[in-house]
C-alpha cells in the first residue's frame, strides 16, 4: 500500500468539494433570481389589475356604482380582491394592499357631484 494514498476518489476530493460548492452557489443564485423575477411579475400583474379595476369602476370619470359587477370579472382574472370607498380620506386599505385614489363625478340622490374614490386591492 502506497503511503498517503486514500483511493481514486480521495485524491480528487479537494476538487470535488470545490466543484460542488461552486455548483451549489450557482444554482442557489439561479433559484433566487427566478424567485425574484416571479415575485416582480406577480407584483406588476397585481398593479395592472388594480388599475384595470379602477378603470372599470370609474367608467370614464362618472361613477354609477362603487362596486359594479363588471369589476368582478377583472378581479377574478387577476386573482385580486378589492374594496372601494367614497370620500374617505383615511388610509383604510389593509397593510400590504395597493391604494389608488381618483377624483370622480358620481350620482348622489338624483344630482351629480364631485367625489373622491379610494380603491384598495390585494391578493
Amino acid at each position: 500500500m502506497r503511503k498517503g494514498f486514500i483511493g481514486p476518489i480521495g485524491d480528487d476530493l479537494p476538487s470535488i468539494i470545490a466543484i460542488m460548492l461552486a455548483l451549489g452557489l450557482f444554482f442557489s443564485a439561479v433559484v433566487y433570481t427566478l424567485d425574484t423575477y416571479n415575485q416582480k411579475i406577480a407584483d406588476m400583474d397585481a398593479l395592472k389589475g388594480s388599475i384595470e379595476i379602477g378603470r372599470v369602476i370609474m367608467d370614464r370619470g362618472i361613477l354609477t356604482e362603487v362596486k359594479p359587477a363588471a369589476a368582478n370579472y377583472v378581479k377574478e382574472s387577476y386573482g385580486l380582491e378589492y374594496d372601494a370607498y367614497l370620500d374617505n380620506d383615511q388610509n383604510i386599505c389593509e397593510e400590504g394592499a395597493y391604494r389608488f385614489t381618483y377624483l370622480v363625478a358620481a350620482f348622489d340622490e338624483g344630482s351629480i357631484g364631485l367625489h373622491r374614490l379610494t380603491i384598495c386591492t390585494w391578493k
Binding site: P14, S15, I16, A18, I19, L21, A22, L23, L25, F26, S28, A29, V30, Y32, T33, T36, Y37, Q39, K40, D43, M44, L47, K48, I51, G54, R55, M58, R60, G61, I62, D89, F100, T101, Y102, L103, V104, A105, I112, G113, L114, H115, R116, L117
Partner: protein
C-alpha cells in the same frame, strides 16, 4: 487547478445573477404608475365638469367666466380659494401626489393654482392631462413628483 478555475467562474456567474436580480427587485413599477397618473388626471378633468361650487353654480362655467376677466389669475385664484374651495380640496385630497397644480395655458394666459413660486417644490417628474376650456385656453392638471 481546473476545479479552482471552475469555482471562480461559477462564483462570478452567481454574483452577477444576484446583482441583476437585486436591480430587478428594486426597480420601480414606473410604467404602470405612469398609466395610473395619466388616468387620474384624465378622470379628474372629466369629473370637474360635473362639480359645483359652494353657491351651487357649475364650477366649469364659473372657471370659464373668470378666465375671460381682465385679470384671470387673481380671479381664478380667488375663486379656487373661495367659493370653489371644496372643489380644490377634492382635487388635492384625491391626488396621488402632494404637488398638484391646476394650470391654465394658451391665448396669452399662463399661470397655475397654486402659484408654483409659492409652493417652493423642486420636483422634476411631471404628469399632465389637459382639456380645452375655451378655444384658446387649456386647463391642465399637473402632478409633480
Amino acid at each position: 487547478m481546473d476545479a479552482l478555475i471552475f469555482m471562480m467562474i461559477a462564483s462570478g456567474a452567481a454574483t452577477l445573477l444576484l446583482f441583476v436580480s437585486g436591480l430587478y427587485a428594486s426597480s420601480t413599477n414606473g410604467q404602470i404608475m405612469t398609466i395610473y397618473n395619466y388616468e387620474y388626471g384624465g378622470n379628474a378633468l372629466i369629473a370637474i365638469h360635473y362639480a359645483k361650487d359652494s353657491e351651487g353654480k357649475w364650477f366649469w362655467n364659473e372657471l370659464k367666466a373668470k378666465l375671460s376677466e381682465s385679470s384671470p389669475e387673481s380671479e381664478v385664484s380667488g375663486y379656487l380659494s373661495g367659493e370653489a374651495k371644496s372643489v380644490w380640496s377634492n382635487i388635492t385630497y384625491s391626488s396621488p401626489t402632494g404637488n398638484t397644480f391646476l394650470c391654465f395655458e394658451g391665448g396669452g394666459t399662463d399661470f397655475c393654482y397654486p402659484s408654483k413660486s409659492q409652493s417652493g417644490f423642486t420636483s422634476t417628474t411631471v404628469y399632465t392631462s389637459s382639456v380645452k376650456i375655451t378655444p384658446d385656453i387649456d386647463v391642465i392638471i399637473k402632478l409633480y413628483y
